[in-house]
Symmetry: C2
Subunit: 315 residues, 2 copies
């Protein structure tokens, strides 16, 4: 954990998507630790939820997370939430993701360290999931999280429901926290030029791993509110093996069975440059394209540009 | 020129492509100035020529260029060159190119400052070209440079041949230097799956501006030695207006008239991230893709990664 060259991406989800003051305070806490970048953040008022993407060396990143968690427990009261996105806590989900050559194990260690701190300092029950899980029934977070705060708050957290760290009761206002470690994934939506959700569902069913599609791909067909089209919402969980172009072209192929074409796509959160290089290698035939050829990487590493870019995404 | 946020790309071409010691010394000189990145360099023994790509703020970049020029004059003797690439000097061509929001005018000023220094300190006649030119007959460098060192060395450099700075005779061993400023361009080759140079020439003629093709595109059809295929060699001089995908798809379209498909492509030197974003926006329909979503830019800006990446391209 002391290795200064390792980088970790951390993507905390908070059960707050409406109060600008709290959202800004969380962003400020993320930015307040030197050496940590706040890459992206977005809030969804409908789901009453926000997602922050941090990048930095393990120790400063953990420091930033502690500051954010402290604020979240202080300011977010789950008892005020009504019928929104399934959630178990104010700091609802906290995944650590290795960046670059950093091994997954570093993310696992960091998840454990964060979990312990959240339990001891903030009195939160902490549930470890995915690569950080300590028992097999916790690996898949969804089943557990879909129980939601309301149900969990009535339980004594023992036996099957015992947390990995912390008390056997939910925190009265801040609930619990799910802390995990996983490899990078790409979250990606493709819009189809049709209003038929049925078509989106069929296409999703055929491109995902379960339906005979691409390995590690999860997909759902969904309506898109107020836009008269539908989308295939995807998680690419093995982006190193499954490049974006292959996913898009396979969706194009399956949508064509229904005479439907693609209307566009969107990327949720951050992406690795390697994904973009692979897109250019495939479509342009730029077989020898290397990341060192990208001028912007060099510019970003020069001290001159850094202060500039920090300002650019201030919001 | 004192603005610390401005960045300049500089691409000096030297008349040395064979002697490893000189090539390494030039690279070392480029890297010796703090704040300047040596993005790329390549040497061509056949053409007896090397090209370095530097990126940095104006003053440190000029400092690095001075060190490289000093070495080049010391170590390169044009009298030893026989029948190779047209050239006029040891430091043959020195273009300054603005990066990011930096105005072209900063590159022009830097070209003038570099030219003055080369003349005063190294006794080189200096010819200003393109945006840095001080007379219209110097704007286009090619006509002048194709005269070559041999012819110019027999002339008195007066009247039409008078340099913009420096003496009226070539330097006995280091010749002269062409110093210019221009906007960024993309140098790009597309290979066609045929052995007919005639097809490459026809395709090149149709995609370039002169032949009714894309604005600002220059193209030549050329054989590719020892590989049984041919290439369309391109300069995209207005890359902000003419994205790579449009060039590739137009070449594909014109090559198809001859029943020929594309075999691949290659990018010479460095590229801006924006070009890659535009490729992904077009082919994947990622209309809203933003540079801030690219994690690697953030990682490069963190102090942790910088030392790592410096090591990565050492060679």
């Amino acid at each position: 954990m002391g290795d200064w060259l390792q980088l970790i991406q951390c993507v905390p989800n908070f059960s707050e998507g409406r109060d600008d003051e709290t959202l800004s305070a969380l962003a400020g806490a993320a930015r307040s630790v030197p050496g940590v970048a706040l890459v992206d953040f977005s809030a969804d008022p409908d789901h009453h939820r926000s997602v922050y993407t941090l990048l930095g060396p393990p120790e400063p990143t953990l420091e930033a997370i502690k500051k954010m968690a402290y604020l979240a427990v202080e300011r977010i009261d789950l008892a005020q939430h009504q019928g929104v996105h399934p959630r178990i806590g104010a700091l609802d989900v906290l995944p650590f993701v290795p960046y670059g050559e950093t091994p997954l194990d570093v993310a696992v260690q960091l998840a454990h360290a964060a979990g312990e701190w959240l339990a001891e300092t903030l009195q939160l029950p902490v549930f470890l999931y995915e690569a950080a899980a300590r028992s097999s029934h916790r690996v898949n977070l969804a089943a557990f999280r879909n129980m939601g705060w309301e149900k969990l708050s009535k339980l004594s957290l023992t036996g099957e429901w015992a947390p990995d760290f912390g008390p056997d009761r939910l925190h009265p206002s801040a609930g619990a926290a799910a802390v995990g470690a996983r490899n990078p994934l790409v979250a990606f939506n493709v819009e189809l030029a049709t209003s038929s959700v049925e078509v989106a569902r069929k296409v999703a069913a055929r491109v995902r791993e379960k339906g005979g599609g691409l390995v590690g791909v999860k997909a759902l067909g969904l309506p898109v509110e107020g836009r008269g089209c539908v989308q295939v919402s995807l998680n690419i969980t093995r982006p190193g093996d499954v490049p974006l172009y292959r996913v898009v072209e396979l969706i194009r192929l399956e949508a064509a069975r229904h005479g439907v074409s693609l209307a566009g796509s969107e990327l949720i959160g951050a992406i690795r440059l390697e994904e973009l290089l692979e897109v250019a290698r495939y479509y342009l035939g730029l077989h020898g394209l290397r990341r060192e050829q990208v001028l912007d990487l060099w510019a970003a590493a020069l001290p001159t540009e850094r202060s500039d870019r920090d300002g650019e995404i201030e919001r």
